[in-house]
Symmetry: C2
Subunit: 435 residues, 2 copies
């Protein structure tokens, strides 16, 4: 009668096998080491937050994708419940930015000022599962809270390009724009101020749609034809464009400081890049989140054509809503899953060059103490050593061990020390190519 229990992970979530887990660990270590060198300090928040926080307006569309947690004990009255709000009080975080803002508001008195925070951890979104998109995925964010100057953006960009470079990602290009410039642009075109968000959603597709498709989408959204025409005209001449060309065209000398900010970031980062990566002004860059207030940026790699691998921007308004006083803030998020995916597909994408040995022994027939001592001595030399019971067919066993990721086998030699046989050595010897 007893039916077997389900063994699949929940829909849209997945199990991570050892080879990928090791790749993920190695990537996380590499990224965190670079961020630590740049003075960022690791912090952690709980996976769960109150639903009132999560639905408080900082999450945009993501607020609709929250996994909500049932109230517990007396707080739950199933019979009397009418709406979801009667049933749930907590939710799994959908990003690391809303929890960071709460964390800072709660703990600022005990935190360094400014705070350079690095977070690495899972977030959850109940999206329709699709290839390469999961309902639990890892994000890696750095944020600088308490610095109004563009030095913060410069630090974020230099640290993140260095981290991505340390992972081996090639052909990095930073694209940068500014929300204030987008607003000045939309005002100059003549779009209604309260409808700028809709304009930006379409502008975000600039590199995917033709000008005619852009025009049609904006017209269908009800924007006035003269404004649409002006915008198409502006971007036809300005993209790709120099900052000064856009500045001349808009006739808005500061755009509330956006031009000076972009100029400083482009200058300092460009000089420090010294050819390791490119940084380009891109007036069509939008970045989705509504909370951005200043410079916005993303990074693409020639290793991955389909989209960006990191993105961020300044969000000076968010923390004030929780703390009651304004705190300037800017952040950069690496798409950890995408990066791991690229590394996994790259040749030589193995996590580490550890040497993994199977220490063969005859269980029961052999004095175990000698096996344990010899195996431990190998570990002391830096090898990864697992004990494996010897089978009756050594050839088949070695083939199986090699397939499982072992690089060689060891046994206790006559002198009590380990005899090591590397699989690669044997292959090389056999092919006669050993020098």
């Amino acid at each position: 009668m007893a039916s077997r229990l389900p063994t699949e992970p929940p829909r849209g979530m997945r199990d991570i096998l050892p080879a990928e887990a090791e790749l993920r660990d190695a990537a996380a270590e590499t990224i965190l080491a670079v961020y630590r060198r740049h003075g960022f300090r690791r912090i952690e928040t709980p996976a769960l937050e109150s639903l009132s926080l999560l639905t408080g307006g900082g999450g945009g569309e993501n607020e609709k994708l929250i996994f909500k947690v049932l109230k517990r004990g007396d707080k739950l009255d199933v019979a009397a419940a009418v709406t979801e709000a009667d049933l749930a009080d907590l939710g799994l975080r959908f990003d690391l930015t809303v929890p960071l803002a709460r964390y800072y508001a709660q703990n600022h008195a005990k935190l360094p000022d400014p705070l350079r925070a690095v977070q690495l951890g899972p977030v959850w979104r109940a999206e329709r599962p699709q290839r390469g998109r999961y309902r639990q995925f890892t994000q890696c964010d750095i944020d600088i809270l308490g610095v109004a100057s563009e030095i913060a953006e410069i630090e974020l960009i230099l640290a993140t390009t260095e981290a991505l470079g340390a992972l081996g990602l090639e052909g990095l290009t930073v694209r940068i724009n500014d929300r204030r410039l987008l607003t000045a642009m939309a005002a100059w075109c003549g779009f209604a101020p309260e409808r700028h968000g809709s304009v930006f959603i379409t502008l975000d597709k600039w590199d995917k749609l033709s000008p005619e498709e852009i025009r049609r989408e904006l017209a269908e959204a009800g924007h006035p034809a003269p404004a649409i025409a002006r915008m198409l005209d502006l971007y036809a001449t300005a993209a790709p464009a120099s900052l000064s060309a856009v500045q001349r065209q808009l006739g808005n000398p500061t755009a509330e400081g956006a031009f000076a900010a972009l100029e400083r970031i482009l200058g300092a980062v460009g000089a420090a890049a010294a050819g390791r990566f490119r940084i380009d002004f891109d007036p069509t860059l939008v970045r989705g989140m509504g909370y951005y207030t200043g410079p916005i940026f993303e990074i693409r790699s020639s290793s991955f054509a389909a989209g960006s691998i990191a993105g961020g921007g300044r969000y000076d308004g968010m923390i004030g809503r929780m703390l009651g006083r304004a705190v300037p803030a800017t952040g950069f998020s690496i798409g950890f899953e995408r990066v791991v995916d690229i590394l996994g597909r790259a040749e030589g994408g193995a996590g580490r060059d550890d040497k993994r040995l199977a220490f063969l022994f005859e269980d029961g027939a052999q004095e175990l103490g000698g096996v344990l001592r010899a195996a431990q001595a190998l570990r002391g030399q830096g090898y990864l050593v697992a004990l494996e019971r010897q089978t009756r067919s050594p050839g088949a066993q070695r083939a199986a061990l090699e397939k499982q990721g072992y690089h060689g086998v060891a046994t206790v030699g006559p002198d009590g020390r380990a005899d090591v046989h590397w699989f690669a050595d044997r292959a090389l010897r056999r092919s006669g190519s050993r020098t």
Copy 2:
């Protein structure tokens, strides 16, 4: 009208500040490095599992403490819902063992055989919050699946004592017993087989209660007086006891193999310990989980008197319930939160001996390129370097930076290279103790 958003973490959960986060990261790295050397391979499962799995019987009392996740979209009908089962389909994992069993059943064809798995991650239990006990906490488990021989227990114990030793925990003692021996003991005393669980719950308190209190608790639970008397008599002479003394007394020469298993583990581990730690047979050791089937063990440290810091045992029955064929399994779990707590309280419990520098600059007044280059050169030498804007009162700023965990400040020298001033140097110079 807009009320400020809540900034406290959810009840029983907590924010982790930088110093503790760094300690946790360093502890995790140390433990994982030792386990890797012993051939364990990192795996990961999702935080959420189906409620049918979580409530399927492997979790004992923990099944009552599950954070349940509301169904989503059309699957949720609040008005028609009568019980929690109508509302929730997923839950946050309460341990790493039930998910591991599911993972193995699902992925065994792609996994090494035997599998040595190491997991490190958060689990969630809706317990009544109390000092030092949280509703989200981290566990670190190693498990060996596919090895029936006691070599598996020997590996678990040697690897875990080495990991705890590498963390600096002192005075480690392993206590070991066997579930089959507990059953043989309860049968010999004359307790009813279906009531053995209740006997073990009381026996588990052997080191906290007096014999008279043990007698009273067993009597109140309705156990027969002659069985209670026999048990008290047995343990009065046998605890602390040698294995052979218990074996003679019980008159059960094998206890289904328990004596041979314990003898082999005690012998091999005792020899390999070579004085680094103790291993003792303890016939009163119970371990709470009902799924254990063979040897059970835990580790205490003289650094922490109040309880064990790691525990585990053999659970040969659990995976078969999901896979449909029996797979021998044994595991060991480090109480990560407790270990971090001990390390944090210990003198010199800082996570790393990194050198953290604040690179002072005058924002706007100074050419930024030189600052960025000099700071990056220091990072290349292994220092952790953050940019900090110079204030008008250098003394107060240095004091504040030292309080925030910086070890010194740097500035650009006349030659374009960094001038570094260590706070400790200054203190030493001032006290005249510098050699």
